[in-house]
C-alpha cells in the first residue's frame, strides 16, 4: 500500500517496542499491544507444551491394546487435559491473541487497540484461568473430557471438575475482551482511506471471529455455572435424578463449542489469505467472496450445533434440520478454498516456509472439511459418531488447519515481530516434517473410526493395534516437527540476520514500518489510497 512511510528516511530506528523500556515491570504492566502479543505468545507456547506432553503419553500408551503405560483413570485424565488445554488455552487464543493482537492495529494503521488496558487485563484473566486449570491438573486432574458431558461431570466424576471448569470459565472472559477490543478497533480506528473493502482479509477474519467470541463465549460461561450449581448445591438442571435434563447440557455446550471451532479456524483462514497473496505476488481472487464467507461462517456456525447430537436421542426432525444447516456451513469454506486456488493460478510463486504452511493448510483443511460432510450426514454419522473418525476429522481441522495457519503466520510475521530472520531451510524442512507426521498420525484414525474403534478408549481390541501403532509413529514424527521451529525461532532472536522492514516484499501497512516496529507503530498516521494486495503495482 502506498503510504507516507515511503517518504520516511530508511534508517533502522534505534528505539523500538522491544527496547523502549527494560525490566520485568515494563512487560507485566505494558499496554502496548505488541508486547501483550508476546506475553500471549510465551503463555500459549507453554500451554501447547503441556497439551503436547499429554498427547505424547496418550499415543505411547495406545501402542498396546491393553495399554502400555498408564491406568485407564490416568488415560482419561490425559485426554481431558489434552483437549481442555489445547482448545481453551492454546487454539482459541492462538492466532487472535498473538498475531491478531500484534497485527490488527498495525494492519489498519492504528497506534494500538481501542482499549489497551483491557487488552492487558485480558492477558491477566487468561493467566488466572490457566493457573486454575494447572492447579486442577497438579492436584490430581480431571477426567470428564473437554466436553464436560453431564450428568457425568455434574454428579458422578470424583475428579477436579470445578477447578478446571472455573479455569475455562475465567479464560472465556479473556476471549470475550479480546473479541470486543477487535470489534471496536476495526470499526473506529482504521487509518484515513482504509475503507472496509480495502481491509486485509486477515482483518475480516478476525472481525468474524470476534463476533463469535463475544456472542458465543457467554453461553459456555453460563453452562459452566450451571454445572457448578448442580455439582455443589445439587440444583437439578442436568441430572435426571434431580429432575434435570442431560441433553440440555449438550445443547448449551455445543451452542458455544461448535462456533468455537470457527474461532480456531477463521483466523487461520485470514492468515492464509495474506500468505497466498504475498508468495504468489498476486492480488486475492474474489476478495468480497472471501470476506463475506467469513461472516457467513460466523453466522451459520451458530445454527449447526446439534449435529454433535444425532445419536443422542434428539428427534428425527431436529436431526433433519441440523443436518441441512450443517451442509450449508460447508459452502463458505469451499468458496474460500476455491478462491485461494484461483489466487495461486498464474501467480509468481515462491516457496518460503510460510507458503508451505499455507499450502499445507489448504490441503489438510480440505480433507478435514470434506470428512465433515460425512459427519453432517445423518445416515452416515450414526456409524462414525464418537469413533476415531471424528477424532481424525477434527484434528484435520484444528491441527491441519488452525495450527498450520498459526505456524505459517508466525513464520510470516516473525521478522516483523523480532526484527530477525530464521534459517529458511530449516523452516521449510520443519514444515515438511509436520505435514508428513500429521498425516501419518491422523489418516489411520479415519480407518480405525470406520472399523468402529470408539474414541476415549484406554484399552482396545487387538485387531486395532496395527493402525494405532502407525498413528503413534506419526505422532513421534510430528513431535520432532514441532520441536525444530521452537529451537530455530528462539535461536533467531539473538543470532538471526537482521530482517529489515519488509523481507518478503509484502503489501500491507504493517510492512511499511521498521522491524521491530516502534512503540507507536507509525511515525505518522498512514493514508491509504489503494486496495489490499496491490501486488500488481
Amino acid at each position: 500500500m502506498a503510504t507516507l512511510a515511503a517518504e520516511l528516511p530508511r534508517v533502522e530506528p534505534r528505539v523500538n517496542y522491544l527496547n523502549a523500556s527494560y525490566g520485568v515491570k515494563s512487560w507485566l504492566l505494558t499496554t502496548d499491544h505488541k508486547r501483550i502479543a508476546l506475553l500471549y505468545l510465551v503463555s500459549i507456547t507453554f500451554f501447547f507444551l503441556v497439551g503436547g506432553i499429554a498427547a505424547t503419553v496418550m499415543r505411547l500408551h495406545l501402542i498396546s491394546p491393553t495399554g502400555a503405560l498408564v491406568e485407564p483413570a490416568t488415560y482419561n485424565k490425559l485426554f481431558s487435559v489434552h483437549g481442555i488445554i489445547m482448545i481453551f488455552f492454546f487454539l482459541i487464543p492462538s492466532i487472535p491473541a498473538v498475531l491478531g493482537n500484534f497485527l490488527v492495529p498495525m494492519m489498519i494503521g492504528a497506534r494500538d487497540l481501542a482499549f489497551p488496558r483491557i487488552n492487558l487485563l485480558s492477558w491477566y484473566i487468561y493467566v488466572v484461568g490457566g493457573i486454575f486449570t494447572l492447579y486442577a491438573i497438579l492436584a490430581g486432574g480431571v477426567d470428564t473430557g473437554w466436553t464436560f458431558y453431564t450428568p457425568y461431570s455434574s454428579t458422578y466424576s470424583n475428579t477436579h471438575v470445578i477447578a478446571t471448569a472455573l479455569g475455562v470459565f475465567i479464560a472465556g472472559f479473556s476471549s470475550i475482551l479480546t473479541g470486543l477490543n477487535f470489534i471496536v478497533t476495526i470499526h473506529k480506528m482504521r487509518a484515513p482511506g482504509l475503507t472496509w473493502f480495502r481491509l486485509p482479509l486477515f482483518i475480516w477474519a478476525h472481525y468474524a471471529t470476534a463476533v463469535i467470541q463475544v456472542l458465543g463465549t457467554p453461553v459456555v460461561a453460563i453452562t459452566i455455572v450451571l454445572i457448578a450449581l448442580e455439582r455443589l448445591i445439587h440444583v437439578g438442571i442436568f441430572d435426571p435424578k434431580l429432575g434435570g435434563d442431560p441433553l440440555l447440557f449438550q445443547h448449551l455446550f455445543w451452542f458455544y463449542s461448535h462456533p468455537a471451532v470457527y474461532i480456531m479456524v477463521l483466523p487461520s483462514m485470514g492468515v492464509v489469505s495474506e500468505l497466498i497473496t504475498c508468495y504468489s505476488r498476486k492480488r486475492i481472487f474474489g476478495y468480497e467472496a472471501i470476506a463475506f464467507s467469513s461472516l457467513a461462517i460466523a453466522v451459520l456456525g451458530f445454527l449447526v450445533w446439534a449435529h454433535h447430537m444425532f445419536v443422542s436421542g434428539i428427534s428425527i426432525y431436529a436431526g433433519l434440520v441440523f443436518s441441512i444447516l450443517s451442509y450449508l456451513v460447508a459452502i463458505p469454506s469451499a468458496i474460500k478454498v476455491f478462491n485461494w486456488m484461483a489466487t495461486i493460478y498464474k501467480g509468481s510463486i515462491s516457496y518460503d516456509a510460510p507458503m508451505l504452511y499455507a499450502l499445507g493448510f489448504i490441503g489438510l483443511f480440505t480433507m478435514g472439511g470434506l470428512t465433515g460432510l460425512f459427519l453432517a450426514n445423518l445416515g452416515m454419522d450414526v456409524h462414525v459418531h464418537d469413533t476415531y473418525f471424528v477424532v481424525a476429522h477434527f484434528h484435520y481441522i484444528m491441527v491441519g488447519g488452525a495450527l498450520m495457519g498459526y505456524l505459517g503466520g508466525l513464520h510470516f510475521w516473525w521478522p516483523k515481530i523480532t526484527g530477525r530472520l530464521y534459517p529458511d531451510k530449516w523452516a521449510r524442512f520443519a514444515a515438511l516434517v509436520i505435514f508428513l507426521g500429521f498425516n501419518l498420525t491422523f489418516f489411520p484414525q479415519f480407518i480405525l473410526g470406520y472399523l468402529g474403534m470408539p474414541r476415549r478408549y484406554a484399552v482396545y481390541p487387538p485387531e486395532f493395534q496395527v493402525l494405532n501403532v502407525m498413528s503413534s509413529a506419526g505422532a513421534s514424527v510430528l513431535a520432532v516437527g514441532y520441536a525444530i521451529p521452537l529451537i530455530y525461532l528462539i535461536w533467531s532472536m539473538r543470532y538471526g540476520p537482521i530482517a529489515g522492514p519488509n523481507p518478503w516484499g509484502a503489501k500491507g501497512l504493517e510492512w511499511t514500518t521498521p522491524s521491530p516496529p516502534p512503540t507507536d507503530n507509525f511515525e505518522q498516521t498512514p493514508v491509504v489510497t489503494e486496495e489490499a494486495y496491490a501486488y500488481g503495482d
Partner: protein, 315 residues
C-alpha cells in the same frame, strides 16, 4: 477385509450395514474427487507458476462472479444429494419394524445388563436370532452411555431418565463387538461386550434354558408388591384408572391434552405420577422414585403392555 488380524473394513452383519456402506463409498468418492482436485491443482500450479526469476510477474486477476456462483452452487447441489440420501437412511433406520423381537438394555458404570422378554438375563452379552428384526429399548442407571455395534452400523446414546431405541436385523451368524461409545468414566473402555447372532433354533433353545421367569410375570409380581394393584383395578373400580388396554393408546389428561401411553409415559407415571394426571382421577398416587430399579421398571412396563394383549384375548 484386510490382512489377518489387521482388518481395514468392518464386517457387514446387518440389513442396515450395506446401505450405510453404499452411502459411505459415495461420500468417499466425492470427497476423494475434491481432495484429488485440490491436491493436483496445487501441484500443477506450484510447478507451473513457480518463480523462476526475481522479476517474474504474476498475472493479476480480480475475480469472476461466474466462477464464484459455479463453485458455490455446484457444491451446494452435491451436498443436497448427500443430505437427502443420509436423511432417508436415518429416517428408515430409526423406525423399528412392528414384529421386532424386543430386548431391554440397562447401562450402568460399567456394565450392560440385558433382559429378554422371555426372562433370560445376561451381562455384557447379547444373544439375538439371525434374520429377525431386534429392537433394543435402552436406559441408563447413572450417566450417559452409548450402545454401538460396528458390524451392524447402529449406535444410540443410552440416557438416564428416558428410553432410547435402536433396531437391527442380523444377517450372519457369528460374534460381533459391541462398545460403549459415549465416554462414561474410569472403565469406559471396558464397557464392551459381544453380540452373539444365532440360528433361530439355537436362539430358541438358549431362550428357554434356565427356566427364567418372563419379564411380564416378574412385572405382575412387582405390580402386587408395590401395591399398584390396590388402586389400579382391572375393572376400573379402583381409585386409579384401570391399566387394561391402555398401552399404546391415547390417554385423556386432566389438562385436556392427549398423550400416547408408551414406555416413557408409563415410566413417568410411576416415577413422577403428578406430571400427567388422567382425566377424572385425583392426583393421589405417591412417587416410586428411588424405590423401583430401572430393570423393575422395564418389567412393570412389560406387564402393563401384556394387559393390552390380555384385553385383546378376552374380546
Amino acid at each position: 477385509m484386510g490382512p489377518a488380524g489387521f482388518p481395514l473394513f468392518p464386517d457387514q452383519a446387518s440389513t442396515i450395514a450395506g446401505g450405510v456402506d453404499r452411502l459411505f463409498f459415495f461420500l468417499v468418492v466425492v470427497a476423494g474427487f475434491f481432495s484429488a482436485l485440490i491436491f493436483i491443482l496445487i501441484f500443477i500450479f506450484a510447478i507451473k507458476y513457480r518463480r523462476r526469476s526475481e522479476d517474474q510477474k504474476a498475472q493479476q486477476i480480480k475475480g469472476s462472479l461466474k466462477l464464484e456462483i459455479a463453485w458455490s452452487v455446484i457444491p451446494l447441489l452435491i451436498t443436497f444429494v448427500m443430505f437427502g440420501w443420509g436423511a432417508t437412511l436415518y429416517v428408515r433406520n430409526s423406525r423399528p419394524p412392528a414384529n421386532a423381537v424386543e430386548v431391554f438394555v440397562v447401562g450402568k458404570q460399567w456394565m450392560w445388563k440385558i433382559q429378554h422378554t422371555e426372562g433370560q438375563r445376561e451381562i455384557d452379552e447379547l444373544h439375538v436370532p439371525v434374520g429377525r428384526p431386534v429392537k433394543l429399548t435402552m436406559t441408563s442407571e447413572d450417566v450417559i452411555h452409548d450402545f454401538f455395534v460396528p458390524a451392524f452400523r447402529v449406535k444410540k446414546d443410552v440416557l438416564p431418565g428416558r428410553y432410547t431405541t435402536i433396531w437391527f436385523q442380523a444377517t450372519q451368524v457369528g460374534r460381533y463387538h459391541f462398545f460403549c461409545a459415549q465416554y462414561c468414566g474410569t472403565q469406559h473402555s471396558a464397557m464392551t461386550g459381544w453380540v452373539y447372532v444365532m440360528k433361530p433354533i439355537d436362539y430358541e433353545k438358549w431362550l428357554s434354558g434356565g427356566g427364567a421367569e418372563s419379564m411380564e410375570s416378574s412385572g405382575e409380581k412387582l405390580f402386587s408388591r408395590f401395591g399398584c394393584i390396590n388402586c389400579h383395578h382391572a375393572d376400573g373400580s379402583g381409585r386409579g384408572p384401570s391399566l387394561v388396554g391402555v398401552f399404546g393408546r391415547p390417554v385423556q389428561l386432566e389438562t385436556g391434552e392427549t398423550v400416547t401411553a408408551d414406555e416413557a409415559y408409563v415410566r413417568e407415571s410411576i416415577l413422577a405420577p403428578n406430571a400427567k394426571i388422567v382425566k377424572g382421577y385425583p392426583a393421589i398416587m405417591p412417587t416410586f422414585q428411588g424405590q423401583v430399579s430401572e430393570e423393575e421398571l422395564l418389567q412393570l412396563i412389560a406387564y402393563v403392555k401384556s394387559l393390552r394383549a390380555a384385553e385383546r384375548m378376552t374380546k
